[in-house]
Amino acid sequence: MKGCWWKGLSVLLLLYVVFMGLHTPLGPALVHTSIDRIAPGPVTVEATGYNTHFAKESPQVWIENDGYRVCATAVTVNSDVVFSAQFTVPAGFHSNLTSLWAWDSVDGPVVLRDAFFTEGLGKDLQGEGCAVGTAERSGFSFPNRTILNETIRNLFFHVPMWFTMMVLMTIAFWQSLMVLRTGNLDKDQMALSAVDVSLLFAVLGLITGSIWARATWGDWWTSDPKLNGAAVSVLIYAAYLILRGSVPDPHKRARLAAIYNIFAYVLMMVFLMVLPRLTDSLHPGNGGNPAFSQYDLDSSLRAVFYPAVLGWILLGVWAYTLHLRAARLNSIADEANDR
């Protein structure tokens, strides 16, 4: 069992990731309003929240426009997630976009940004308007983002798949260099095992990414530099396997496969690093789209994301060692059969 602690660690980390990643609730948020347009005068709005607790404590409700707040004159709570509020909208808001806020001591401040298109603009309103509660909620939850919503949990599965694939491809690259240096056939088997397992993770990355894209962008596949890069890496390693299949002599096969792997790996890495930065992209982390870390990989996500990355990478390496052992045993069995 000595030297196997990291396998146990990967299982523990992944159990933690699956439990926390799927069990932690999303933070409360407002998700919908009955109207999306307001004009000066009396207005009644019915708002829907998500994971909120309005029935426990009636919320304080206000609308905010360019830093100026107008509090509701009356609030009726229908359930934990629905309330209706009456406002007297003043003339002279600065911006044509107004946000809806609610606060209670259980949920803290929740907001639907830019909820209303606003008429009757001017420059009359100065200062901050009415005073509101600001105390934050306590408790562990994931941020509730527009569009992402519950799919934010996919962060712990989709992103580590690609990290694991990269790690395994780097192992394959290194073993290919060793093949060229030493001509050792076992190094060739190592490279092949790493490629096989990395392709498995690539396919899982494509599937999780595709599901996520469907839920957020509305399509299973979009033409996007990051997605093209992913497709190219899968094609390159599929071609690697075909190249191996077409050379019968094992020594020659080892050398040719190693040459192709090195050539393809270096070019692919350059493409993956540079290409997304040249063009616009929907994908986080490219072309003006912030990566999660920049805006809200907040402490609750980090607490699950970093263990997830480590856990998946360890699992990938474990799968690689198993694949390698099976392949070595197979080749020993083949030799025994030949005798």
Binding site: N228, A239, S246, K252, L256, I259, I262, F263, V274, L278
Partner: protein, 222 residues
Amino acid sequence: MHTAEITHLLRLEWQLDRRQKHVWGSMALYVVSTIYVCYHGVRHLTDVPIWNALFWIILLFAAFNALGRSFQREDAGRQLYLYTLASPRSVVLARTAYNALVMAALSLLSLAAYALFIGGTPMQAARLDIFVPVVVVGGVGFALVLTLLSALAARAGNGIGLMAILGFPIVLPMLLSLMKASKLALDGMGWNVTGKYVLWLVLIDLITVGLAWLLFPYLWRD
């Protein structure tokens, strides 16, 4: 590095090809007949993105066709003879340089034939001082990537089919940047917009040559 050896090998390539004039004819005929077939499919194209995409697809296949034979024309005996005479790095650099020159000429020929048959309307608003260099850089880039792969496929004892399978995924990102750069040039954008793509393509070309230089000796010895 032996400059004299490389120039000598370059001259050898040139003389071999000059002796077999049908090689030139077959490359030119391949491009022209492909374009002619496309012409019957689409007549005149005025839509810039489609015009652009079709041109690059034709040039890509022309490159596969032209470079596939690069390492296949000599038999094992002549290869061994060359192996005893020249260093492998000189061989690959000479052949890469030669293929780059061939593809530069072939890309210009393709462009001329393409403009003649499919129509040059999209080129009227284009910045030709950018578009034509992008086409040449593209042709040369294909040559650089495919030379090593052609050697690899020849060594694997498999023909142009294997080369296409190995080559497509590696050429694809380059092709995407080329299409983007040439589309921008066709739209009349200046160097300030297209410059970074051209720079990036040249960088890729340099990396490719470096890799070929490093890896070819391992491919060469048997």
